[in-house]
C-alpha cells in the first residue's frame, strides 16, 4: 500500500473477535510527514 496521503481511501481487512473478516474503507484526513530522527549536529 502506498504512503498515506490526504483524501486517499485505504481498504483494510479487519479480523473480528469471532474470526470473521470484513473490509473497511478508511478515508485519510490527516497525515504527519514521515520523520527520520537525525543526530544533532556537533557543536563547533
Amino acid at each position: 500500500m502506498a504512503q498515506p496521503v490526504l483524501g486517499q481511501i485505504d481498504e483494510v481487512p479487519v479480523i473480528q473477535p469471532d474470526g470473521t473478516q470484513v473490509m473497511v474503507k478508511l478515508l485519510v484526513v490527516g497525515v504527519a510527514k514521515p520523520t527520520i530522527d537525525q543526530p544533532a549536529a556537533e557543536p563547533e
Binding site: 498515506p4 497525515v31 510527514k33 527520520i36
Partner: protein
C-alpha cells in the same frame, strides 16, 4: 455497516488494533480489551544562543506521536494477543497499530494509525483473574510509514 454514535472521539471507548504486516495493508486484529488509550503528540524544542542572550531562538521540531494505554487479559490463559504483544516488546518488533474511537467497522469512527514499537510494558496481576498491562508505543524512528488520521467511510 452501522454508523458510529454522534460525537465519537478518540479517548471515548477506544479500541486498539494491530497488524504484523507493515505499510497499512495488513489485516487488523482487535486487542480484546484495552482501556485508557491515549494519543500523545509532542513537538520537541531546542534553544540556540549564538550571540549572547540577546539572540536566543527556539527551534520547534515535528510532532512525535505515541500511544499509551492498558490492555486487560485473563490470568492463566491470556491468549494469543498477549503472547504476540509481549514477544513484540521483548524483540523490539515494529507493528502496525490502529487506535479507533470505537469499533473500526462502524462508519464515521476516527482512526489513528502509527507504526511503532512498545517502549514500555508493565504487567500487573493485582486484581483477581485479570492481567493488566500498561504500555507505551512509540513510533519507530526509521519507519517510512507516515502516522495518519482516518475516518471510516464504509
Amino acid at each position: 455497516m452501522p454508523t458510529a454514535s454522534p460525537g465519537s472521539v478518540l479517548g471515548d471507548d477506544c479500541k486498539l488494533y494491530y497488524s504484523a504486516t507493515l505499510g497499512g495493508a495488513g489485516a487488523l486484529t482487535e486487542v480484546p480489551v484495552s482501556i485508557d488509550d491515549t494519543i500523545s503528540s509532542e513537538r520537541r524544542t531546542a534553544e540556540s544562543n549564538c550571540r549572547g542572550d540577546s539572540e536566543v531562538s527556539t527551534h520547534v521540531g515535528k510532532p512525535k506521536h505515541s500511544i499509551t494505554g492498558s490492555m486487560l487479559f485473563k490470568r492463566g490463559t491470556p491468549g494469543v494477543t498477549f503472547l504476540t504483544m509481549r514477544a513484540a516488546y521483548a524483540a523490539g518488533t515494529t507493528l502496525h497499530f490502529a487506535l479507533a474511537s470505537g469499533t473500526v467497522t462502524d462508519v464515521d469512527q476516527h482512526v489513528f494509525r502509527l507504526e511503532g514499537k512498545f517502549s514500555r510494558w508493565e504487567e500487573a496481576r493485582a486484581d483477581g483473574d485479570t492481567v493488566k498491562v500498561s504500555f507505551e508505543i512509540q513510533r519507530t524512528p526509521d519507519s517510512t510509514y507516515a502516522s495518519n488520521w482516518a475516518v471510516v467511510s464504509s
